[in-house]
């Protein structure tokens, strides 16, 4: 019997291969985007983990409280006082992050005599694609190193970079007696090992963003599957009825159908994982660029296929398929044995469901509204987004049904009335696809509004911040000083740009001490500030902080921060877009008191625009600097914008993919419906509408549906943008952006949606237009 049930159930796919395709592709696409995003996240996290485990992961550290470097003498004093600490130098060499470690004192160090290489020259172990130009070291490629890094003995790295010790790793096992740390070196502090690295914390929000996109795509995909499964089971009702009439047990039929879905889900999941791998491979370079641009985090540009994807990809495909089909399976299970298949009854039944849907939808949107009033933080942000999107999606069929009922009533003429009624009749089959399209469009509007607002703000910010006409990067402090001497008479002002790395309330922060100059007063806009903020800062009586430090550290104008050994009131908070860490500006004198050895190597130059190019050429020649080292304002702005644009490439790509999935959903829904709608079309054809007209009507319907969905998507998308800008961004990046609207972009998106809907409707429309009249007449012959 089981065999008979199997062959009967499976025969459905022979007759409806398109439905099988829809089901498999819907699940595969959902899985693909989900597992692609997971793959990217996993790869990035693996890179961070490698970067942190590599050297000092899991160990406490000793650093200088002011973030400065530690002298060799201090290290030796600690060792001689019974502190088992190991020095680490982290320095930049030709753009590579080079770490120097002392293998003699590194904790947990076990000697292994399996390798007895004794190189005659100093050696650096480098990641793939890292180039070290120094002729004095031999480089050995080590594929396990995080990208863009190199490691060597502290002696080699110290010679190459001239750097002092960056921090000390504290051996977890310390001897019985040791002097107190502050009696040896009071400026040192112990930082307890944290479970994850700074980079991992910083980038968490980015990965959460990606995950949210993956989830959104998955939900859209599941909508497709849900729609497809609903139709498939509806069409199989006669089959189930027949099988049960000939004696097949209901339980066995349900089991067979569930198993069949399971097999399809696994197959689709496998396709999805493979697709996801390609999506991730294509996106990873952009993700890597984004992470580098936003957070300075290095992520490898190549993907390793990890077994966990297969498991999680197949798992989510199966779970998704089960979620999508549980209602359909239940309705088969509850179906009275003699009930016949009635598409119209399906519509009526889902009409009752609409009441439930509208309650859920309104409830969720209300919840999103209330949350957005009170909640802060990343999780709250995503909760608001989820409530908003799911709520709006639930309301899509309700809104359409109400709208169509209205238009049907007010329509004049039989064809118009029939058109609206027929559209309403199709709503249950289309509503999920329309909800998916609405979600994709809203996401598109929301994200493009956010990116657009960000872009405009960032451009304005660059205009403010890059106020000097020319920027110079010298190669050393000595060359920097020579440059200052040389340029003194030639330009209007030389503004040194030097900084110290400090830690404020545990937040890594850059400390700047610019010279007093009109440039800052003229160009530097504060988000909030006291009067005469710049005068106060230059006088050494106050500090300005960036928005990131203000949000993370909870500092406002008027609060006091301790920096460079003094307590200063915050007199201004400024926007600092694109910077992952905190920033503080204090007066030049205070800065030099705390860091007397600080010597600027970078300078902003104020100069009359007409003398700019001449000056730049002279500076290059005089100091042997490259085009990159002597750069004018416009080139630097262009470079910054390029970094900015790359930052959002991934978001844009995911947006397009989501929209594509939604388009596919519409196509599949229309195709499926076209096959089912013969009983509705045949009478209309019979009373005089020809097939061409019917085809055109189909196209017109698609356009109306697309426009209507776009209209619904617009407010949802704008609400989404607001949440992204006012809640998610603040939590994720530490800055809030003013929201701007981009009507032209939305119009373009609307046109795209209409075009997508037309393309999706062409095939079903053509099929109707070319339908053999015999098929239409058959409807009457088959009248049930």
């Amino acid at each position: 019997m089981t065999r008979a049930i199997w062959s009967a159930v499976l025969s459905h796919w022979r007759r409806m291969p398109l439905q099988l395709f829809t089901l498999v592709m819907g699940l595969a696409l959902a899985t693909a985007l989900w597992s692609g995003v997971q793959a990217i996240n996993a790869e990035a996290r693996a890179s961070y983990a490698a970067a942190s485990d590599e050297l000092t992961g899991g160990f406490d550290r000793i650093e200088r409280a002011d973030g400065g470097s530690i002298s060799v003498d201090t290290f030796v004093a600690l060792r001689r006082a019974g502190w088992l600490v190991s020095p680490v130098i982290v320095a930049d060499l030709d753009g590579t992050q080079v770490a120097g470690i002392d293998v003699l004192t590194m904790p947990d160090f076990v000697l292994d005599d399996s390798q007895s290489v004794t190189p005659s020259t100093p050696t650096l172990w480098v990641a793939e694609n890292v180039k070290i130009t120094s002729k004095t070291v031999t480089t050995v490629v080590d594929a396990d190193l995080p990208p863009g890094t190199a490691v060597g003995d502290i002696g080699v790295v110290s010679d190459l970079t001239g750097a002092d010790i960056s921090y000390l790793v504290v051996n977890p096992v310390q001897p019985l007696f040791q002097e107190k740390l502050d009696s040896i070196s009071p400026e040192l502090v112990i930082l307890e090992a944290s479970g994850e690295t700074d980079i991992a914390q910083l980038t968490d929000s980015f990965h959460l963003n990606l995950t949210a996109f993956g989830l959104l795509s998955f939900v859209v995909g599941i909508f497709i599957v849900h729609g497809a499964v609903g139709l498939i089971f509806e069409q199989r009702r006669p089959l189930v009825r027949t099988l049960r009439s000939v004696g097949a047990p209901l339980g066995q039929i349900i089991t067979v159908m569930a198993l069949e879905l399971l097999v399809i889900a696994i197959l689709a999941g496998a396709i999805g994982v493979i697709l996801g791998y390609f999506i991730a491979s294509a996106l990873l370079p952009d993700v890597a660029a984004t992470l580098r641009g936003l957070y300075g985090a290095e992520v490898g540009g190549t993907l390793t296929l990890r077994p966990i994807w297969w498991i999680s990809g197949l798992g989510i495909a199966v779970v998704g398929a089960m979620i999508a089909s549980i209602r359909a399976l239940l309705s088969i299970a509850r179906m009275p044995i003699l009930k016949i298949a009635q598409p119209r009854s399906w519509a009526m039944q889902s009409g009752r469901g609409q009441v439930v849907l509208s309650v859920i939808g309104i409830g969720l949107i209300a919840a999103a509204g209330i949350l957005s009033l009170f909640a802060t933080g990343l999780l709250a942000g995503f909760a608001i987004l989820a409530a908003l999107l799911i709520g709006a999606a639930s309301l899509v069929p309700v809104v359409w049904t109400l709208f169509l009922a209205g238009t049907e009533r007010s329509a004049s003429g039989p064809i118009a009335k029939w058109f609206w009624a027929d559209t309403r009749q199709q709503m249950p089959g289309l509503s999920l696809a329309l909800a998916a399209l609405m979600l994709a469009m809203a996401a598109n509007i929301g994200v493009s509004t956010m990116v657009g607002s960000f872009r405009n703000t960032f451009q304005g910010f660059l205009d403010q911040r890059l106020a000097s006409e020319v920027y110079i990067d010298t190669k050393s402090a000595e060359q920097g000083q020579n440059f200052v001497d040389w340029a003194a008479g030639r330009v209007d002002a030389i503004l040194p740009i030097d900084k110290a790395d400090v830690n404020i309330s545990g937040i890594p922060t850059e400390l700047y001490g610019p010279v007093a100059h009109q440039t800052y007063r003229d160009h530097w806009a504060f988000l909030s500030a006291k009067q005469d903020a710049w005068e106060t800062i230059h006088a050494g009586d106050g500090a300005a902080i960036n928005e990131q430090l203000s949000y993370r550290g909870g500092y406002k104008v008027g609060d006091v921060i301790v920096v460079a050994g003094v307590a200063l009131p915050v007199v201004g908070v400024y926007g600092d877009y694109g910077n992952p860490i905190g920033q503080v500006i204090i007066g030049r004198d205070l800065f030099l008191q705390a860091y007397p050895d600080s010597a600027a190597t970078s300078f902003g130059i104020r100069i009359a625009p007409e003398r700019m190019s001449e000056f730049m050429a002279e500076a290059r020649e005089e100091f042997g600097l490259s085009g990159q080292d002597v750069i004018d304002q416009n080139a630097l702005k262009a470079y910054s914008m390029e970094v900015f644009e790359r930052t959002f490439t991934v978001t844009a790509s995911l947006n397009v993919l989501t929209l594509g999935v939604a388009g596919f959903a519409i196509l599949m829904s229309l195709l499926t419906l076209a096959g089912m709608r013969l009983p509705q079309l045949a009478p209309v054809w019979a009373i005089g509408l020809d097939r061409r007209q019917l085809g055109w009507i189909e196209l017109a319907r698609a356009v109306i549906l697309a426009i209507g969905t776009a209209v619904i998507a617009l407010p949802v998308g704008l609400a989404l943008a607001w949440v992204l800008l006012a809640v998610v961004n603040v939590a994720a990046f530490g800055w809030r952006l003013p929201m701007q609207v981009f009507p032209v972009d939305y119009a373009v998106l609307g046109i795209q949606a209409v075009v997508a809907a037309i393309i999706a409707a062409i095939w079903p429309a053509v099929r109707i237009a070319r339908m053999p009249p015999a098929d239409l007449t058959k409807v009457f012959a088959n009248e049930r």
């Binding site: 030796v76 019974g82 293998v103 590194m106 160090f109 050696t123 172990w125 190193l145 002696g155 019985l176």
Partner: protein, 338 residues
């Protein structure tokens, strides 16, 4: 990234091509011990960077208030990558410290690595003053510690320095490999040891060995058994055997008044009686030691048979008791059994 690979490039001892701990390797560029060397003090208490290998080695037999016997070991090795002292991180001198505290039931030990180029380890040539991290050995005290133990011992040098072999040139093989080797076997000790959270006052005697060379072992010699015995009569015996294709022995008889008699290959004999397995290694912990020319025929027993140091270059080192023709205490070192 195998960080281990880096250390191996630094530590010559890990490139164990030949002999025990690379001590049988050839000596390009390094000085070689020769006969007729005039020792100068305090300079010769300091480092000799022109030689590849050097050590400062103190072993102490200690007794607690209840008569319990303890042993303390303080050792610093200098390993040169190049025959110069140098300064800074890259200076080609790697220092290695081993310290241990042995009770009849426990054996505590620790290992340290350091660089003299930055001052983390070193030896002065103005007086006996050697250190690695907080461990220190001077002519009046000796300290070392690990995670759960420590010793703070005051030292009093109580007799003349003793020069082994041919006025301090100690030959290690029939092929002529040799080292400079002198000892201070007369050191009175008092102080404290710290174990199990308690401070225990101790008294006793210590023996310091100083040795430096560039290739002290022949390439076929895989290890040694070394004895420093202090007899109740006040006489002392230093004897070792180097195990290789042939066994090579050497000994010094140090009479109570400080007179030294050197014995060349074959005069001193050490035969294992009982073996013991510890940390996966089987080695003799009871020996019959004879030096017939001085009427010595004694049984040497380890106070704690598990006095094994599973450090980067593992070996056994611990206090012993002496019975037989002479009674006394001493230290036993056994290498090359793994």
């Amino acid at each position: 990234m195998n960080v281990k690979a880096i250390v191996l490039c630094i530590l010559p001892m890990c490139a164990m091509a030949q002999g025990f701990a690379g001590l049988g390797e050839t000596v390009d560029g390094f000085a070689v011990p020769t006969a007729g060397y005039q020792f100068m003090f305090p300079e010769d208490h300091g480092a000799h960077p022109e030689f590849r290998i050097e050590w400062w080695y103190v072993t102490a037999n200690l007794t607690g208030p209840d008569g319990t016997q303890y042993g303390a070991q303080w050792t610093v090795f200098r390993n040169a990558l190049e025959p110069e002292m140098g300064t800074g991180w890259g200076a080609p001198q790697i220092w290695l410290g081993h310290a241990a505290l042995t009770t009849p039931t426990d054996h505590y030990y620790a290992e340290r690595f350091g660089r003299s180029g930055i001052g983390q380890a070193g030896a002065k040539d103005t007086s006996l003053d050697v250190w690695i991290d907080e461990w220190e050995l001077t002519d009046n005290h000796m300290t070392a510690q690990g995670a759960d133990w420590a010793y703070h011992l005051d030292l009093q040098f109580d007799g003349p320095l003793v020069f082994h072999g041919d006025n301090g040139l100690s030959v290690k093989s029939s092929a002529g490999q040799a080292s400079y080797y002198y000892s201070q076997p007369y050191i009175r000790v008092s102080g404290s040891i710290f174990v199990d959270g308690a401070e225990i006052p101790v008294m006793g005697q210590a023996w310091m060995d100083r040795e430096w060379s560039s290739q002290p072992l022949a390439s076929d010699q895989s290890g040694w058994d070394w004895f420093s015995l202090s007899f109740d009569t006040g006489d002392k015996l230093m004897g070792f055997q180097l195990r290789g294709t042939d066994t090579y022995t050497s000994a010094s008889w140090i009479s109570a008044d400080g007179g030294v008699t050197a014995y060349s290959d074959g005069a001193f004999l050490a035969e294992p009686i009982t073996v013991h397995e510890t940390a996966g290694v089987t080695l003799p912990v009871e020996w019959r030691v004879t030096l017939p020319l001085q009427g010595v025929d004694v049984i040497v027993n380890a106070i704690n048979p598990d006095a094994y140091l599973p450090v980067s270059v593992p070996y056994w080192e611990g206090p012993v008791t002496v019975t037989g023709s002479h009674g006394g205490v001493g230290y036993l070192e056994m290498t090359g059994y793994d």
